[in-house]
């Protein structure tokens, strides 16, 4: 299949050409309030509001590099765009051999590991799986009570609360999702 190759950190990914709508230079993104930090923002594509998923952030792959372009997936099926480390090139992937993968990580639930002709391992991203995990993750967030810190009055110091509000993300806004969510209330 004809695929677009891109890298996130040390991992190389491939995305079926048929699943891509367009690759565009990222226009200004607009912050999505209340969204988890792995959403870089939303872009206006032909009067449609498209969320951009920071794939590195979502898959928890530590890397600072981001390509200035975004991959807009087939909107009718997936309705979102991806921001990745570095977009490489289109490549004809033939004869890939699936590699054994015992990991149950998020990474392996949205992509399958295969070996290229030259033996190099490559992950074929499955946008459908990605979207499913994403939406069920978002839905799971509902119904849980929040537990916010108390509001601060004038004169008080914010020092001890630094950790609650880590720095904003790189692209537009990366909402610090450190508010504890869940019945136990997390550490603060």
């Amino acid at each position: 299949m004809k695929a677009l190759l891109f890298k996130i950190g040390a991992e190389t990914f491939a995305l079926d050409f048929n699943q891509i709508q367009k690759v565009v230079e990222s226009p200004g993104l607009f912050a999505i309030p209340l969204a988890p930090p792995f959403f870089s923002g939303a872009l206006n594509f032909h009067n449609q509001i498209i969320p951009v998923l920071d794939l590195a952030g979502y898959l928890e792959i530590a890397t600072q590099q981001r390509d200035s372009r975004v991959i807009i997936l087939d909107l009718s099926r997936y309705g979102m765009a991806l921001s990745v480390g570095a977009i490489k090139n289109f490549h004809s992937l033939e004869e890939v051999k699936p590699l054994p993968c015992s990991s149950t990580s998020l990474l392996s639930s949205v992509s399958r590991l295969v070996a290229r002709e030259d033996g190099q391992p490559i992950r074929i991203l499955e946008p459908a799986c990605l979207k499913n995990r994403l939406t069920s993750g978002l839905l799971a967030r509902s119904g849980k009570a929040w537990h916010l810190s108390r509001p601060v009055l004038p004169g008080e110091e914010w020092g001890e609360r630094e950790d609650l509000y880590p720095e904003a993300g790189r692209l537009a806004v990366s909402a610090a999702y450190s508010l504890s969510i869940g019945p136990q209330g997390g550490g603060q």
Partner: protein, 628 residues
């Protein structure tokens, strides 16, 4: 029930059916017997009969019934003789006349002549030989359709022996071709002329043959040949006053109006830099015209609540039987109008609410009441039952059991807040899942639908007295007023329907107790010194958005909103202004982010997200005012 608006519908539908029948008859006349077409004819007649009967139009119903009967027989016999086509044409024409009468608010005209005649027609008849073109419409009198009344002028010879004898011969001859209805002998300048009025189905040629070779006949003059005379075409019925329109067109109109508004804003933004008075004037005019258009489009889309409450009595009856409880339904305000799309979205949730009331609220017998009322830009829908009320302790227990909150967190929640938790997916206080509800999806569906419509849902309940679910839904969808605010450097929109008022609060007015910020608000309109103030909890929008740290400043712009029946103040960085925008519904995955109710693209391409403040507040454990 007000019948007048249904009358218009009846008229337009009935005319459609009759028009269809005419068309079918015309087609069948040309070709052979068509089973399918006969079926269509039958169904149309059947429909007209049913509609007329339910409207109380007796003669129309009776006539339609007659046609239906004939059509039914003809279908069985699988034949359609020309004179039957004739008869059916006349019947349809007569039905159209009856509709004319009714629409002109006159009494339905007599139809017995037709019904009688038709019986005669059925009992054997010489096949008409001259059925080719459109029939003659006889509006009065019992004329068999296949024969015509003509007047023959027969000139007798000058030297006629006995005119009486000749007349006799002529009459008896003609009798074989029809029915002589009148005879008149006149003398003109010495010549005898016989005028004979004859009811006949024969053509001029046929008559000529009969009158051949009668002694004493000099000449037979036929009138301007009836069979060649085109009968007066039926005047087209007046165009219906109402149109039926596909709902797609309605949606399209709504959307295009919204886009017009966006474009208008764009123009305004573009012209702002250019103080061109000509442009300004036109823009103002344009704004007015678009507002007008929008108003009319909205009107078209409005439908009374009745549309979804009409089926409820039956639903309640079935529910009663199923649960073995005696439940009564009371409705009020069914004539309140809502946008068609909103109505559609509420139909299912309404059923869920009633199911819940019957299943959980009412023990053995009770009353479920549905009341709708307009409050400015909102429709308030209240579903109440007089059952045992919601057991808050049971809810608390279930919440802990399901892991939706810890006991510690629950302690902080007000009663109102705990009640709201019955809307969480997977929640149900039913012991076992019954047929009707208890699967725990009902309230979640209602909550989701209400939120998607940009409305709010409140639950009130008193043990032993009953429960009330209050839905507040904006009147119109897709085009809404939002209040643009800035919080933490980002701009978001809040639907005006969720904003009670805005105000500036200085930080000296803020109080802090038990880790909660509050402000004392004087009741509107009163400025007395010692007026008791309402204590209202204060939150900062930044906290919800978790964007940046925020300190109450010297002056804090705030939005006063309502949550669970209580007022709440939300502080923002800046109040930007009001805007009328076209809301885009969010698609997955954005749709799954709770707290977002939509987004809009402004004229300059900027995306603003619209918050559902109600749902944000409801998920906040501190959103309770009980302990103050």
């Amino acid at each position: 029930m007000d019948m007048s608006k249904y009358q218009e519908l009846f008229f337009s539908e009935a005319r459609e059916h009759l028009q269809a029948m005419n068309g079918l008859l015309l087609e069948m006349e040309k070709g052979t017997f068509d089973d399918e077409k006969m079926g269509q004819l039958f169904r149309s007649a059947h429909s007209v009969k049913g509609m007329a009967a339910s409207m109380g139009f007796a003669r129309t119903a009776k006539l339609a019934h007659q046609l239906e009967d004939w059509l039914s027989e003809l279908r069985k016999k699988k034949e359609l003789a020309p004179q039957m086509v004739e008869l059916l044409f006349e019947g349809v024409g007569l039905l159209e006349n009856l509709i004319d009468d009714l629409q002109a608010k006159k009494e339905e005209r007599e139809i017995n002549f037709f019904l009688k005649k038709s019986v005669r027609q059925k009992t054997g008849n010489s096949p008409a030989t001259l059925r080719k073109s459109v029939l003659q419409q006889e509006r009065s009198g019992a004329t068999p359709p296949s024969s015509k009344k003509i007047t023959l002028h027969i000139h007798l010879q000058n030297d006629i022996q006995s005119s009486a004898a000749t007349v006799n011969s002529i009459s008896s001859r003609l009798a074989s071709g029809g029915e002589v209805t009148a005879t008149h002998l006149c003398e003109e300048a010495g010549r005898c002329r016989l005028e004979i009025q004859l009811q006949t189905a024969l053509s001029a040629d046929g008559l000529r043959k009969i009158l051949e070779k009668i002694d004493g006949v000099e000449r037979v003059m036929f009138p301007f040949a009836v069979s060649e005379q085109k009968p007066p075409a039926k005047a087209p019925s007046p165009l219906p006053k109402s149109v039926r329109m596909s709902t797609d067109v309605l949606d399209y109109l709504n959307n295009i109006t919204g886009e017009l508004i966006t474009t208008r804003h764009r123009l305004e933004a573009a012209s702002d830099g250019n103080r061109n008075s000509g442009m300004e004037e036109s823009l103002t005019e344009l704004a007015r015209q678009i507002a007008d258009l929008q108003h009319h489009v909205r009107k078209i889309r409005m439908m009374p609540l009745e549309h979804i409450t009409a089926t409820l009595p039956r639903f309640i009856r079935d529910l009663s039987r199923e649960t073995g409880k005696n439940v009564q339904l009371k409705t009020s305000g069914e004539n309140v109008e809502l946008d068609r799309a909103v109505l559609e979205a509420l139909a299912d949730p309404l059923l869920h609410l009633i199911r819940n009331a019957v299943d959980h609220g009412i023990d053995k017998e009770g009353v479920v009441s549905i009341a709708a009322a307009r409050e400015q830009d909102l429709v308030v829908l209240r579903v109440r039952d007089n059952g045992k009320g919601i057991d808050v302790d049971a809810v608390r227990e279930k919440v802990v059991r399901l892991g939706l909150a810890s006991p510690a967190q629950l302690e902080n929640l007000s009663r109102t807040e705990v009640l709201q938790m019955i809307c969480y997916p997977g929640f149900s206080t039913a012991e076992k899942i019954t047929n009707v509800s208890g699967r725990g999806v009902g309230m979640d569906i209602v909550k989701t639908a209400v939120n998607q419509l940009g409305g709010s849902l409140d639950i009130q309940s008193t043990a032993g007295e009953g429960s009330e679910i209050i839905l507040k839904i904006p009147l119109h969808v897709a085009i809404i007023h939002i209040l643009l605010v800035e919080a933490g450097g980002h701009q978001v929109g809040i639907p005006i329907t969720q904003v009670h008022s805005t105000m500036d609060i200085s930080h000296s007015d803020l109080n802090c107790s038990d880790d909660r910020l509050t402000v004392g608000l004087a009741p509107l309109g009163r400025n007395e010194e010692n007026q008791e103030k309402e204590i209202v909890p204060v939150f900062f929008l930044n906290e919800f958005l978790a964007l940046e740290k925020t300190l109450p400043k010297k002056n804090n712009p705030m939005i006063l909103t309502e949550c669970g029946g209580r007022k709440v103040a939300i502080g923002v960085d800046r109040l930007i202004g009001k805007k009328e925008v076209f809301v885009k519904a969010l698609e997955s995955p954005l749709r799954e982010i709770k707290g977002l109710s939509g987004a809009t693209i402004l004229g300059d391409g900027r995306i603003f997200f619209i918050l559902d403040v109600q749902s944000l507040l409801q998920r906040h454990p501190l959103a309770d005012a009980v302990s103050f």
